[in-house]
């Protein structure tokens, strides 16, 4: 893939030189460091003991849970290049884990009345292997019911062979993706409505 493409622009369908691209340029540190986050978490030069295939698998899974088709295709492509044997299994896992969030039980006494029930999904280790299954189970927790995260969730990752450094990178990866997908989605909706407004004006003039 191109190292230079701005991934949020790409997922949002924002073209270089467009009005929204110029608006994004007013927050140049945010733009550049969202891109660096993508590079650091998805395409690090030295991925250490958290290989690219696992990173792309988590990303493809996360994108599909968000119902963002362009992002799902983008991350499935990256996964397909790196580990084609995983594409179908990740797609099936995301279909199996599909639900609507955020939901979950509160730990805080005064908020128990706001606790909501929902799917507590676990990935199938027989299909994905223990290590990747643990990562997807954690990803599902973070995407849909982050308020239910507990030390036991971290212990499950340790038990499946995840180092402390890699657990931090996994948490950053999933958390970053929940930002990236929303930033791109928001821009896509805004771009569409801006174009729609213009189209209406042009239609009126014609």
């Amino acid at each position: 893939m191109s190292q230079n493409a701005d991934i949020i622009d790409l997922l949002a369908g924002v073209a270089p030189g467009s009005a929204l691209s110029a608006i994004r340029d007013q927050r140049v540190q945010a733009r550049e460091n969202a891109q660096r986050s993508f590079e650091a978490l998805l395409e690090p030069a030295d991925p250490g003991t958290f290989p690219h295939a696992e990173r792309y698998a988590v990303a493809a899974f996360t994108a599909r849970l968000h119902g963002f088709d362009e992002a799902t295709a983008f991350y499935a492509d990256l996964l397909g290049d790196e580990a084609p044997e995983l594409v179908e299994a990740i797609d099936a896992a995301a279909a199996d884990g599909a639900t609507r969030g955020p939901y979950g039980a509160y730990r805080e006494e005064g908020l128990r009345g706001e606790s909501t029930e929902g799917l507590r999904w676990t990935a199938d280790a027989a299909v994905l292997g223990e290590r990747l299954a643990a990562a997807l189970t954690h990803t599902h927790l973070l995407v849909f019911r982050p308020r239910e995260a507990r030390p036991t969730a971290i212990r499950s990752l340790v038990d499946a062979g995840w180092s402390a450094d890699d657990i931090v990178s996994l948490s950053q990866l999933v958390s970053f993706l929940t930002f990236q997908l929303r930033a791109a989605w928001g821009l896509r909706v805004l771009a569409r409505s801006t174009n729609g407004t213009n189209a209406t004006h042009e239609g009126t003039a014609a």
Binding site: R27, A30, R36, H66, E108, I154, S175, V189, L190
Partner: protein, 205 residues
């Protein structure tokens, strides 16, 4: 050997959402301050963060920490054009309220109060939840958009943009709201998954 994972059976936990100061304790072992490498110290951006376990824990992936922090600072503190600081903090607080991050909500609710002077409006968001009337349509529209953007699958749509426009926001301001709300989905998940808030000793009865 030091245990990697720590639980806190006797922690003084907050009861609910609050604007009062909270601490935060890590479940996963942070890098010891004396062991921080130059790269890790550089990634903290602000040297004082070496005292904070949250940032020393994130320093386990210094490149990711550095990029995260610079993204955060520009979205929230770069005030050249765009929407006001109070509305950015409100987007962060509403997102945190909806996702259920008591720690993030307290930091950014307090910041929204500081920036706007509207403590009672902010407190209603914390007490009643994201459906509360926050006193004017700009704030209500910012909170509603932040909530829509926090949903999975993604639910933010044309009607949310139209509501922000009707409240008087231009496209650059709407981008700031989108970025502020989107960023807190990132922040909430780090704070919620790596540790938990505690009531500091000075505030315990």
């Amino acid at each position: 050997m030091t245990e990697l994972v720590t639980e806190y059976p006797d922690l003084a936990r907050p009861e609910a959402f609050t604007q009062q100061g909270l601490g935060w304790v890590p479940w996963l072992l942070p890098v010891a301050e004396a062991d921080l490498t130059d790269e890790q110290r550089d990634a903290l951006i602000e040297p004082a963060r070496a005292k904070m376990p949250y940032f020393r824990l994130l320093a386990r992936d210094p490149e990711a920490l550095r990029a995260r922090t610079l993204t955060d600072l520009d979205i929230f503190f770069n005030v050249t054009s765009g929407v006001g600081r109070a509305e950015r903090e409100l987007a962060a607080a509403a997102t945190s309220r909806y996702n259920g991050c008591v720690y993030c909500a307290h930091v950014h609710a307090a910041a929204a109060t500081r920036e706007s002077g509207r403590e009672a409006d902010v407190q209603r968001l914390l007490d009643e939840g994201v459906g509360a009337d926050l006193g004017d349509e700009v704030w209500n529209a910012v909170a509603a958009s932040s909530v829509a953007l926090a949903e999975t699958p993604l639910a933010f749509d044309d009607a949310d943009v139209q509501r922000l426009r009707d409240a008087g926001l231009d496209d650059a301001e709407i981008v700031d709201v989108i970025n502020g709300a989107a960023f807190f989905n990132w922040a909430n998940r780090l704070m919620l998954s790596l540790g938990e808030p505690e009531v500091p000793a000075r505030r315990r009865s």
